[in-house]
């Protein structure tokens, strides 16, 4: 079930502290670390049952781009913590360096060490496809995270998020709330406009609104940064004297969006975010801003990837499925967090 193309992109680099989805806040950030946040969340449960039982020891190699932004940081952190939960997993992380060639070089070293499984978030899906293939040919199972290889044969398993689904969920939420309004004004604050992921999200948003006969009235694009979010929103609020709903693609730039709204003293609309950052969830919970929902793009996929890598290494299937093996592809659903379910997600809230 993959209705959209999700080509290789450099999204994480541009994603900024876009901080998507649930995931544990890292311990020991900097002096800035907010002490009140919780740790050790966002891991799959190690419950009873066959799969939890100690099995053959599996060596898992892991490679993701350097943690230069919040979302990638969560990916790496989640993978590490998940691996630590298993006594039969040996986890070996290699740094991916600054670009695709550096990551290819690092992976070649990793392949030499012959791990059982490699979990790989590529710098660039297309450029790392050959390396994935080489690993598979060397008898190493590859789990491809988020940025898809250009050849499905280069990975045993693909786990990725759903940008189109994010937009769709946001569109459906807004559509349902505005049903019955006369000529509602719907504004969209996108991220960096020329990225495929932004285009996927916008397409999903249009499709979601269309189900309710609505259209995007005003669309602006920011840059996934707080300052750009503030800047476009300040001008957007001048463009439309009355707005009914805003979808902002990214909770990090959302900090700036909310600041601009507050500075302009505007209150007549409601807003939906995107990502699922801790800050966004706190606003949703307290109701102190127009932000009343956000749609997720979860970095928990890294935790799941490590769990599934272990099962693949041990030749087991997923216990709830009939099949004896782990499936070939998993696309995560984008969840909608609102005041009614925010408490459930709050521990997974990710600091932008």
């Amino acid at each position: 079930m993959n209705p959209f193309t999700n080509g290789p992109s450099r999204r994480s680099i541009l994603f900024g502290g876009a901080a998507v989805g649930a995931g544990a806040l890292l311990a020991g950030c900097t002096s800035n670390a907010d002490n009140s946040t919780k740790n050790d969340t966002g891991q799959t449960k190690v419950t009873g049952g066959d799969n939890a039982a100690l099995g053959k020891t599996v060596t898992i190699g892991f490679s993701a781009p350097a943690a230069d932004h919040g979302w990638i940081r969560a990916i790496t952190d989640n993978a590490k913590k998940q691996a630590a939960l298993y006594k039969d997993v040996k986890f070996s992380q290699v740094d991916a360096g600054a670009d695709a060639p550096a990551q290819i070089a690092a992976l070649q070293t990793l392949i030499q060490q012959k791990p059982d499984v490699i979990v790989l978030l590529p710098q660039d899906g297309a450029q790392l496809t050959a390396t994935g293939k080489a690993a598979m040919e060397a008898g190493i199972q590859v789990v491809n995270l988020d940025r898809e290889f250009s050849d499905a044969g280069a990975a045993r398993l693909l786990i990725k998020g759903d940008n189109y689904g994010m937009g769709l969920a946001a569109g459906q939420y807004i559509g349902a709330k505005l049903k019955g309004h006369a000529n509602p004004v719907v504004a969209e604050i996108a991220g960096i406009d020329n990225l495929p992921l932004t285009q996927d999200r916008s397409r999903g948003f249009r499709d979601g609104l269309a189900q309710y006969g609505l259209k995007v009235t005003n669309r602006v694009a920011a840059q996934f940064t707080v300052q750009s979010g503030q800047d476009v929103t300040a001008n957007l609020l001048q463009a439309a004297q009355r707005i009914d709903a805003i979808w902002n693609h990214d909770d990090d730039q959302g900090v700036g969006v909310l600041a601009a709204i507050k500075q302009a003293g505007r209150k007549e609309f409601f807003m939906v975010g995107g990502a699922g950052s801790l800050d966004a969830m706190e606003h949703i919970k307290s109701g102190d801003s127009p932000l009343e929902a956000t749609v997720t793009y979860p970095p928990t996929m890294a935790s799941s990837a490590v769990s599934l890598a272990r099962l693949i290494g041990q030749g087991k299937g997923m216990s709830d499925l009939v099949e004896l093996q782990v499936p070939k592809q998993i696309v995560l659903t984008s969840e909608t967090i609102t005041k009614s379910n925010v408490d459930k997600y709050l521990p997974l809230g990710f600091r932008s």
Binding site: G16, G17, C29, T30, S31, N32, A33, D34, A67, D68, H69, G70, R73, D193, T217, N218, R219, V220, A221, Q223, T225, V226, Q227, S228, G229, Q230, D231, V232, A234, N235, L236, L237, Q238, A239, Q241, D252, V255, G256, L258, A259, A260, K262, Q263, A264, D279, R351, S352
Partner: protein
């Protein structure tokens, strides 16, 4: 011996009434005022409901001025640097560093006063580093500030852990919300900085030295001006402007971030250039730079209120830069064109 002075004198007469001796900023910037009027007319055609409606126009233009305020302050600092014959590529990164430094949990615990002071000190201090590298390390300004640009951005990322540092000190955030007499405080800061800068450039020995070392560093040196010390001060001033802008941006965004001030160096240089500041130094005005910033901010605003794609806005900015610089060059060429011998 070739005497080129006389033809220059003749052509200066030809060049016309508008060329004053440097104390006529308004006339010198008539072109930019014209562009602003043109942009207003475009706005009136595109969105008459905003541009022909007093209340909404006032509100919209206050927004333009507010959004112009931080880049405006940066551009004013850049104008001094460029008039002195230098360039400062580090302004955006210094803004980010100052904003991050002033919004760490530790700094925030001391309250808004310390946060502001931290931003100003970090900005001015980093500018001082630029100045030392250029004046005493004899580095080319382009290279020196390129290096501090990269380093300051990196340091900002290191301090913030690449996380957005949300400002919990609400009184600090109110800097961006206060509207004494209905005018946003940020706009007032911008105007005050611009007025002070105008006085500094046009009425003080500091300004005179800036023009002198940019116009002809050798002549300034041979007249006994301490070029190194002054270069140091000019870059420190630019750094201080970055610190002021950091306070403004941080309050606006309600957060400190290593992403703040992205591409500010290019925007500031572009605004100063269309405002008539020469990349070669010795020439430039505060009024021109402020108008340059307003032109860019107004274009940005027009594109958003007209709901147009951002790429068109970038194209428009490029066209305006090219047009403004071409016009400037034609003016200079007209001034310097020698009269053919015997004419």
């Amino acid at each position: 011996m070739i005497d080129v002075a006389s033809p220059a004198a003749a052509s200066a007469k030809r060049a016309g009434w508008w060329r004053g001796d440097g104390s006529e900023p308004v006339r010198r910037n008539l072109g930019l005022v014209g562009v602003l009027v043109l942009l207003y007319l475009v706005g009136a055609l595109a969105r008459p409901d905003i541009f022909l409606h007093g209340g909404r126009l006032w509100s919209n233009e206050l927004t333009v001025l507010t959004q112009a305020s931080s880049i405006g302050v940066i551009t004013i600092g850049m104008t001094f640097v460029m008039i002195s014959g230098g360039i400062d590529l580090s302004v955006g990164a210094l803004l980010a560093l100052a904003s991050v430094w002033s919004t760490t949990v530790a700094t925030q615990s001391y309250g808004p006063g310390v946060m502001i002071l931290a931003a100003l000190l970090v900005g001015a201090g980093s500018g001082l580093v630029n100045g030392i590298l250029i004046a005493y390390g004899r580095m080319v300004p382009f290279i020196a500030t390129l290096a501090t640009m990269v380093a300051a951005r990196g340091l900002a990322q290191k301090i913030s852990g690449k996380l957005t540092q949300i400002v919990k000190v609400t009184s600090f955030n109110r800097i961006a919300e206060w509207r004494p007499l209905g005018i946003p405080l940020l706009v007032i800061i911008f105007v005050v900085v611009a007025v002070l800068a105008w006085v500094l450039l046009n009425r003080t020995t500091f300004g005179r030295r800036t023009v002198a070392i940019g116009g002809n560093a050798e002549a300034a040196r041979l007249a006994g001006i301490n070029i190194r010390r002054h270069t140091l001060l000019v870059y420190t001033l630019s750094g201080l402007c970055c610190g002021i802008a950091a306070v403004m941006v941080t309050a606006q965004a309600t957060a400190g971030s290593s992403d703040h001030g992205n591409l500010y160096e290019l925007n500031a240089i572009a605004a100063a250039i269309i405002g008539g500041t020469a990349l070669t130094g010795g020439r430039g005005t505060i009024v021109g730079s402020v108008l340059g910033v307003l032109v860019f901010t107004q274009i940005y605003n027009l594109f958003i209120v007209k709901n147009l794609q951002t790429e068109y806005q970038q194209i428009a900015q490029g066209v305006i830069i090219v047009a403004a610089v071409l016009i400037q060059q034609f003016r200079v060429a007209a001034l310097r064109r020698p009269v053919p011998p015997g004419a």
